[in-house]
């Protein structure tokens, strides 16, 4: 097992290196640098001023030279300094990561809280109207682009009904729980949490659809197993059978799936953070791409790839524990 982990980690490192290299060269191959952006908004800047600034910012160094310097620092945990803001990139990412992380948390929570009962019910009531409704939700879920759902929900819940804010972020809802409990004021939690509702639903809808279907089919498979038939024959209560035996076994592959979905969520948040003006790393990436703040772009890609790879790795290892049939190939 240790050997497996080490080799997978080495492999992950190689992939990460490739990721940075691809992004770095992709971004730099294309015309336009941060100085162009500054000059476009400042007619007072002359061509000489632009050259001087490029020199000072180190943009005149060759790409390989910059890349090597970057890698050297990255290994020591220094992801560089934002060209535009002059602030360490790590601190910018650290600022934004919690907002994205918590959005992912509520999204997954929502996805599973809805998907698990939905999956169980549709499996137990196979071919009933509930099952068909489940199929409908599943198809709608994979068909509905997150941004469209987001826009439609803003139209309905924010503009028509004025129930929920159309965009923005007012701090961590998780962090506000403590204060809300201490001051016995649910309003404190609600004030932060209501900003999470529409973005989480926009992201969670597709996951609900996919997960409910997977749970349904896993349940169907488990329900046909001998030990379930045996337990039923023994006269165990139906609810116990469903929860203790069937669900537990059906959930194993699903739980590992959560890790993978967490990684895939990073992708979805790019769009959803833009729609809801969410101060997370997805929007940081989009904004930095626009102003060519290379260190930030590289860092965001690096961090998301690293998260994605490590989640995959954890899932992989977990899977080996859960299901001994899986062997190293």
């Amino acid at each position: 097992m240790l050997r497996l982990v080490v080799s997978r980690l080495l492999y992950a490192a190689v992939i990460l290196l490739g990721v940075i290299l691809v992004v770095a060269s992709l971004v730099k191959l294309v015309p336009g640098d941060p100085v162009d952006v500054i000059a476009a908004g400042n007619p007072g800047m002359s061509v000489q001023d632009m050259d001087v600034l490029r020199e000072k910012m180190g943009l005149t160094r060759s790409v390989p030279e910059q890349f090597v310097a970057y890698l050297g620092n990255a290994v020591q945990g220094d992801l560089g300094t934002s060209i535009r803001q002059g602030v360490p990139v790590t601190s910018l990412i650290a600022d934004r990561l919690p907002a994205t992380g918590e959005l992912a948390f509520w999204t997954l929570l929502l996805a599973f809280v809805i998907a698990i009962p939905l999956g169980i019910v549709t499996a137990l009531k196979r071919d009933s109207w509930i099952d068909y409704a489940g199929t409908f939700v599943a198809v709608l879920g994979v068909s509905m682009p997150g941004f469209l759902l987001a826009v439609l929900m803003i139209l309905w819940f924010s503009i028509e009904l004025r129930w929920l804010p159309a965009s923005g972020y007012r701090g961590s809802a998780l962090a506000s729980i403590g204060r809300a409990v201490a001051e016995r004021d649910i309003g404190i939690f609600w004030n932060a949490f209501r900003y999470f509702i529409l973005p989480s639903i926009s992201l969670a809808f597709v996951l609900v659809a996919v997960n409910a279907r997977l749970i349904r089919s896993a349940m169907l498979e488990v329900l046909q197993q001998d030990y379930i038939t045996f337990a039923t024959a023994k006269g165990a209560p139906r609810l116990t059978i469903i929860l203790r035996h069937a669900l537990r076994n059906a959930l194993l592959p699903i739980v590992t799936l959560a890790g993978l979905q967490m990684g895939a969520l990073l992708s979805g948040t790019v769009v959803i953070e833009t729609v809801f003006a969410w101060p997370g790393i997805g929007r940081l990436a989009v904004d930095s791409i626009h102003v060519r703040d290379y260190p930030i772009i590289q860092a965001v890609v690096l961090v998301s790839a690293a998260l994605f790879i490590s989640l995959n790795l954890i899932v992989d290892i977990l899977y080996r524990f859960i299901d001994p049939r899986v062997r190293n190939d």
Binding site: P31, D36, A99
Partner: protein
């Protein structure tokens, strides 16, 4: 004629006129938003130093500052914020006049290469440390240091160093006379910052700024925005602000920002495109709102690349100019809220030539087709238009495309992110570009029309034009300068280097209980001058 041989009075007049009409409306257009800079615009308040009123102004803006370290940013929304926190040596007034700020007086000397300021006594930074000549000189040294790689250093021009002559006298030594000196020196970018605070905060100074301006920085968080409170020790500089505090939040989504105003969550929206064109009609009909508007010193124009056929042919350029219906364009792309442009110099900039209105090629599609036929390109002409991806510019490009289709020209639009747009159009990779600028002095002709100009996208070679542009730079007599500027504009318009499209309007909206709000030419409000009715 050399700038060095001008008397210091002449040079002073020239430099001031350079700023006249408020030099500071450079418009950053990052991410489509674009707050206007700055603009300090101190100047005399309408009713001299009205009473303290208390109250909090809650401002909603489309963008969030990137940093409040004046040496690390050129973003206009940051600049507008810094103008409240920092006190520059001089401030620009509501009409662009240069007024005392931290300095009470100044004089040029040494062939106009040295500018010596006399500072107001007793001024302190918000952290209590003295804001004296030493502080000014230290700030300049930090700004110019190569390792700072400051993007805003160009505002200081050919400045070599600042020297603290005595505690209240500071001399700016330039390598050569710098006519645009007040552009930067009236902005927060060049204002002194507290050395003690910089040394304590390190690279986090941009999030904990300490200056000597009318408002003290209190807090800033990504989720809750920024809070500034009145600097009660501002008296040595000028009258303290009338309101107690300012809260600045950013709402990137237009609809949310407007909703926040309508529900009273915020009571002011101003700066850049914070008041979206699409909601101007709605806000005008709101009885609880006061709308402020003023023509912006900006230009949006179609610029033809003369290095590429058929735009080397003046007839083709003229045909394109005749094909554009500016009124319809403004209705479609800007909901009618803009002024049709006639000259490369915006009509609100001193030096604009009114004669260009008659010289311009008006909307005449038949004439346009005839001209294309004369040039032999009336069949299947295909042209590439490069535009940046801000919404109004993208819409403008689409209207231009539709209108040129009416004379049989097929336009391919390429909308690019700002960085790429700037780089590609600088290399001439386009047939046409929708060029944009925001500036307040007629010297804008240098960057946009001189062969060596950083923003020249027509790629013409014309020694006569270059000569005139260089000459207007050093002509201190306004009437003589106007004559040259008239000639420049007439030439550019009649030879159809550009098709000027429109000059946008700046909008601001405040709640009814905000009193004495006035908009400066840059589209900003001087928050320390306005009050709140209780």
């Amino acid at each position: 004629m050399s700038l060095r041989t001008l008397t210091s009075e002449q040079f002073d007049a020239l430099a001031r006129s350079y700023l006249k009409q408020a030099t500071l409306s450079r418009r950053g257009f990052l991410g489509g938003a674009a707050a206007l800079t700055a603009a300090a615009m101190l100047g005399m308040p309408g009713k001299a130093l009205a009473q303290k009123t208390g109250g909090t102004l809650r401002v909603g803006r489309s963008e969030e500052p990137d940093t409040l370290d004046p040496h690390k940013t050129t973003l206009s929304v940051s600049s507008a914020t810094m103008d409240m926190i920092y006190e520059p040596l001089a401030r620009a007034g509501y009409d662009g006049e240069v007024l005392p700020g931290l300095a009470e007086s100044w004089a040029f000397s040494n062939e106009n290469k040295t500018l010596t300021f006399k500072l107001k006594p007793g001024v302190k930074f918000h952290d209590g440390t003295p804001c004296d000549a030493e502080a000014v000189a230290w700030t300049v040294a930090r700004h110019l240091a190569p390792e700072a790689a400051s993007p805003s250093a160009f505002f200081l021009g050919p400045l070599e160093r600042a020297e603290a002559v005595d505690p209240l006298t500071v001399a700016y030594h330039f390598k050569e006379p710098f006519v645009a000196v007040w552009v930067g020196l009236t902005l927060g970018y060049s204002a002194p910052i507290s050395r003690a605070a910089v040394e304590a905060a390190g690279d986090q100074f941009g999030r904990k700024p300490v200056g000597a301006g009318p408002f003290k920085f209190v807090s800033w968080s990504t989720d809750r925005g920024m809070r500034l409170e009145r600097n009660d020790d501002y008296a040595p500089v000028a009258a303290p602000a009338r309101i107690d505090a300012v809260e600045l939040s950013h709402y990137p989504e237009d609809s949310t920002r407007i909703a926040a105003f309508e529900t009273g969550e915020i009571n002011a929206i101003y700066g850049g495109s914070s008041v979206p064109l699409d909601s101007v009609r709605r806000l005008r009909g709101n009885p609880d709102a006061i709308m402020l508007e003023r023509p912006a010193q900006m230009m949006r124009a179609l610029v033809f690349n003369q290095k590429r056929p058929p735009f080397d042919n003046p007839k083709v350029r003229q045909a394109f100019a005749h094909a554009i219906d500016q009124k319809r364009l403004i209705a479609f792309a800007l909901d009618g809220f803009a002024v049709p442009a006639t000259s490369p110099i915006a009509s609100s900039i001193a030096g604009y030539s009114a004669k260009t209105a008659e010289l311009s090629y008006g909307y005449d599609p038949e004439k346009a087709k005839a001209l294309l036929a004369e040039a032999g390109v009336d069949k299947g002409l295909k042209v590439k238009l490069v535009a940046n991806d801000t919404p109004v510019i993208r819409r403008t490009a689409e209207v231009v495309q539709a209108q040129l289709r009416e004379i049989g020209v097929e336009i391919t639009i390429e909308t690019l992110p700002i960085a790429q747009w700037a780089a590609i159009t600088a290399q001439g990779g386009q047939d046409m570009v929708i060029s944009t600028y925001s500036y307040t002095d007629a010297d804008i002709v240098y960057p946009v029309l001189h062969t060596k100009g950083a923003l020249n996208r027509a790629f013409h070679e014309n020694a006569e034009l270059d000569g005139m542009i260089a000459e207007q730079r050093v002509t201190s007599d306004p009437a003589a300068r106007q004559v040259i500027l008239d000639k420049i504009q007439a030439k550019v318009v009649t030879e159809a280097y550009w098709k000027p499209l429109f000059e946008p309007l700046n909008f601001a909206v405040v709640a009814k209980d905000v009193v004495d709000a006035r908009m400066n030419p840059a589209g900003e409000l001087r928050i320390d001058h306005l009050g709140m009715a209780s």
